[in-house]
């Protein structure tokens, strides 16, 4: 595994969808799934992007997402995948603004960097997420119709080995996400309804 690397190219992926459901918290989902084998004799940098164009205005945006990686050694000398520049492993963009730089914490690498390795003939995997659909990270940003929503993965992979990378970037309309108080009231109402129903069925 050498430390020298060069940019192998950018793959623009099409796995993106605008959900755009009225009354739904999810406004847009962009996902990337890609298996790549480094067939060169030196470590290479791989960049994958997916994007969509916003079909609705979002005055108050929230985000959540995920990142998964599997590495496999094929040439009996171990495998390593790592971030190139700290913060570039996973980035989410609204228009030309990077709104999320997700650096999952791993052991073995410098602070702010990501590194996943495995021994000869072995595999290793990593998965992490930020935010959730019901508790997204709130941004001080808005989305206009026509804005590009984009997710980008960038990593360096050791020579002769393979990486399978996948993940999401979800953008939600915070006005459609029930707040904690609303969620509690909804839960209470559901509980009361359920109890009344059981009582009616038992009578």
């Amino acid at each position: 595994m050498g430390t020298h690397h060069r940019r192998a190219g950018i793959g623009l992926l099409s796995l993106a969808s605008v959900v755009g459901l009225a009354g739904s918290a999810s406004a847009a989902v962009v996902s990337v799934s890609k298996v790549v084998t480094n067939t060169r004799s030196t470590a290479q940098t791989f960049v994958y992007e997916a994007s969509i164009t916003a079909s609705e205005n979002i005055d108050s945006a929230g985000i959540f997402g995920s990142f998964s990686l599997v590495v496999s050694d094929f040439n009996r000398n171990g495998v390593m995948a790592a971030s190139t520049v700290a913060g570039d492993l996973y980035s989410g963009w609204l228009g030309s603004t990077r709104v999320k730089s997700f650096v999952p914490s791993t052991s073995g690498g410098p602070a702010g960097s990501f590194q996943l390795s495995a021994a000869a003939n072995q595999q290793n995997f990593f998965t992490a997420a930020f935010g959730t659909e019901t508790a997204p990270e709130v941004l001080a940003s808005s989305v206009k119709i026509g804005d590009e929503i984009r997710v980008r993965f960038e990593f360096v992979l050791s020579a002769g080995d393979q990486a399978a990378v996948s993940g999401h970037f979800n953008v939600v309309d915070m006005s459609a996400v029930p707040g904690p108080g609303s969620a509690a009231l909804l839960g209470l109402a559901a509980g009361i309804r359920g109890r009344n129903r059981r009582r009616t069925e038992n009578d």
Binding site: L12, L15, V19, V35, N121, Q162, A164
Partner: protein, 243 residues
């Protein structure tokens, strides 16, 4: 992502070229669709004896599913008597309902078994990622007899069934080491190393597989005993000559 439309031309051009790798056959059956088969010869990699195979199959105009691969096959050039084919499949179910996939991979790698060396020592591993493409819930369930079956000359010798959680996005990991050693089925030589994957994938979901399936010819125990006996007799004869 689906760059296979230009590959047939490349493949045809390389078939008769000295650069062409061994033949790789990928056959796929998907619920509601006729079986499709793709034949290709790989491109050489920086590692001598290893070839890269990139290609794909799709549902056609409906674009309701995609099967893409990025594999490496070893033709024994790097290590005599040893061969492997990797797993690097990305399968997307772009429709709303679950579909069952049956994918068979066969890599033509003639491993010649010398006299007495009719056993094969195999190694397999399998990992992957499962992602819901619309942020919902994705599921992957194995179809009988198992999710992944390692095959030698078309005969299954190792089966793997990793546990795959049902969630929005996850990784799964089979046992780290799976080995098998035995007589080469349909021998004496190895004509193909390959694997079969059978599973049901939920709608709007993508699964990726990563892994290795390798085989190395080893002498049979009987042959080892004969070899040891012959060596012993040779040394004894030499000592006697020196006396």
């Amino acid at each position: 992502m689906h760059a296979y439309s230009i590959l047939p031309a490349l493949t045809i051009g390389l078939t008769t070229s000295a650069l062409a790798g061994p033949l790789l056959t990928v056959a796929a059956s998907v619920t509601g669709f006729a079986t499709q088969t793709n034949l290709s010869n790989g491109l050489p990699t920086d590692d001598p004896g290893r070839y890269n195979y990139v290609g794909g199959l799709t549902a056609g105009p409906s674009r309701s599913w995609f099967i893409d691969w990025d594999l490496v096959g070893d033709d024994t050039g790097a290590l005599p008597g040893a061969t492997f084919i990797t797993n690097g499949f990305t399968i997307t179910n772009a429709g709303a309902t679950s579909r069952t996939f049956d994918i068979v991979v066969a890599f033509d790698s003639p491993v010649t078994a010398s006299a007495g060396a009719n056993q094969l020592s195999c190694f397999a591993n399998l990992s992957g990622t499962l992602t819901s493409d619309r942020g919902g819930t994705a599921s992957l369930t194995s179809a009988a007899p198992s999710l992944w079956q390692g095959q030698i000359n078309g005969v299954t010798k190792v089966s793997l069934n990793p546990v795959v959680p049902t969630t929005t996005s996850t990784t799964f990991f089979g046992p780290a080491s799976n080995t098998w050693t035995g007589l080469i089925p349909n021998g004496p030589n190895v004509q193909t190393v390959g694997y079969r994957m059978q599973f049901t994938l939920s709608g709007y979901s993508t699964v990726q597989f990563s892994g290795l399936w390798s085989g190395t010819v080893v002498p049979a125990p009987g042959a080892l005993a004969i070899l040891a006996a012959a060596t012993g007799l040779g040394m004894s004869g030499r000592r006697r000559s020196n006396a």
